[in-house]
């Protein structure tokens, strides 16, 4: 991937190296678009092109950063609603469990004590 550097001068004036202007097709009086991909990360080019490229670049960058790239792609594609309308709650008749007394509950929960190598409360 080719990279180019330029230095911002007074009041933010900067120059675009000639070979980059030629490769990118930037002519005199062309309007440049700046599209923010991330904090301190911008996609710059003649109007129209960065906007077209940004979603692809953003998705790729985010997916590369995340341990869940498929999830990120689905989120960016709008496939997962973050505020869903999940109003269709269904009623299931409540069922009381069989009544057991304290003695029976103690028996149900009893088992040999495991050997604990606890650290204490230190």
């Amino acid at each position: 991937m080719q990279t180019h550097k330029s230095v911002a001068r007074d009041r933010g004036v900067t120059t675009i190296p000639q070979d980059l202007r030629e490769r990118a097709g930037v002519a005199v009086h062309d309007e440049l678009s700046w599209v923010e991909l991330d904090r301190d990360l911008w996609l710059v080019g003649p109007k129209g092109r960065p906007e077209q490229a940004a979603p692809v670049v953003e998705t790729t960058l985010l997916a590369q950063q995340s341990p869940f790239p498929k999830l990120v792609r689905r989120l960016l594609a709008g496939e997962i609603a973050l505020s869903p309308k999940m109003a269709e709650r269904r009623h299931t008749p409540t069922q009381e469990p069989p009544a057991v007394n304290e003695e029976q509950m103690i028996m149900l929960g009893s088992a040999p004590e495991p050997v604990r190598r606890g650290r204490g409360r230190g």
Binding site: F68, K70, M86, T92, L108
Partner: protein, 265 residues
């Protein structure tokens, strides 16, 4: 290929409401003792993309007089609903039944209960983490659902591989849950229930394992029944159709120490 290694058997389409085993996006949190984690200045931007990093804030500006100072670490990413389906709708079901007892039709009772956001406000979820964050346990044991305290998330065309850490379970508001981006099949949900039972009550289940080993057959179901003397009977169904009944020992009168021969108190 078993259900834990076949995506088409592992997942099913999400239902119209949240359910146990649904994969969602939501915040989770850990409470630390202050000083255990470096803190951030409040507030911080939300993590982009989800599943990366966390924010850490001190809860109070000084240690409280009656407890230790606490710090909260919050995450945002994929998570699994652990709450059982019955518990997800416990308040809701009771409200519907009360409304019906007061003469409302089931349709009207459902419609009214659905409008009440205070019913079952909390759902217990646990984060889904990448395998690089797994410690002390082998990834193979987690992927095959043999490790206690973890549950595998199988990679599919639409879901990234990871694991659920039951030790990071936390209650969150129902209103913070995204729609499910995947849901577990019936068989895999059953495995999830078993793994949750193992995690929270493994000692009791170890008795089942001892019985199964002793009789040489797998226990496939259990029922609690009582006899006509109200003694507890646990009926275990074994594979092959056999049945094993465990009866509670008859109540024995406690010996009075003063009446035990040789004990002069």
């Amino acid at each position: 290929m078993g259900v834990l290694s076949d995506p088409s058997a592992f997942y099913t389409s999400p239902g119209s409401d949240w359910a146990q085993g649904d994969l969602i996006i939501a915040p989770t949190a850990i409470l630390w003792s202050t000083g255990e984690r470096p803190t951030h200045k409040y507030p911080q931007p939300a993590p982009v993309p989800p599943g990366i990093g966390s924010v850490v804030y001190d809860l109070w500006n000084e240690a409280p007089p009656f407890a230790k100072a606490a710090t909260i670490e919050c995450f945002l990413g994929p998570a699994m609903i652990l709450t059982d389906d019955c518990a997800l709708d416990k308040d809701f079901n009771v409200k519907v039944e009360k409304l019906m007892e007061h003469g409302k039709s089931e349709a009207d009772a459902l419609a009214e209960a659905r409008l009440d956001p205070t019913l079952d406000p909390l759902v217990v979820i646990a984060p889904i983490l990448p395998y690089k964050e797994l410690r002390s346990v082998s990834p193979t044991a987690v992927r095959t659902a043999q490790a206690i305290g973890y549950f595998p998330i199988l990679e599919s065309d639409e879901v990234d591989e990871g694991f659920v850490d039951f030790g990071r379970a936390v209650p969150v508001s129902r209103q913070l849950l995204s729609e499910p981006f995947a849901a577990l099949s019936r068989d895999v949900k059953n495995i999830l229930c078993w793994k949750l039972a193992q995690h929270y009550a493994v000692r009791n289940l170890s008795v089942d394992a001892q019985i199964a080993a002793a009789v040489g057959k797998t226990i496939v179901a259990s029922h609690i029944i009582a006899d006509n003397k109200n003694r507890l009977i646990v009926e275990l169904e074994l594979e092959g159709g056999d049945c094993l009944r465990l009866r509670q020992e008859p109540r024995q009168a406690e010996a009075n120490p003063s009446r035990v021969r040789g004990n002069r108190g």
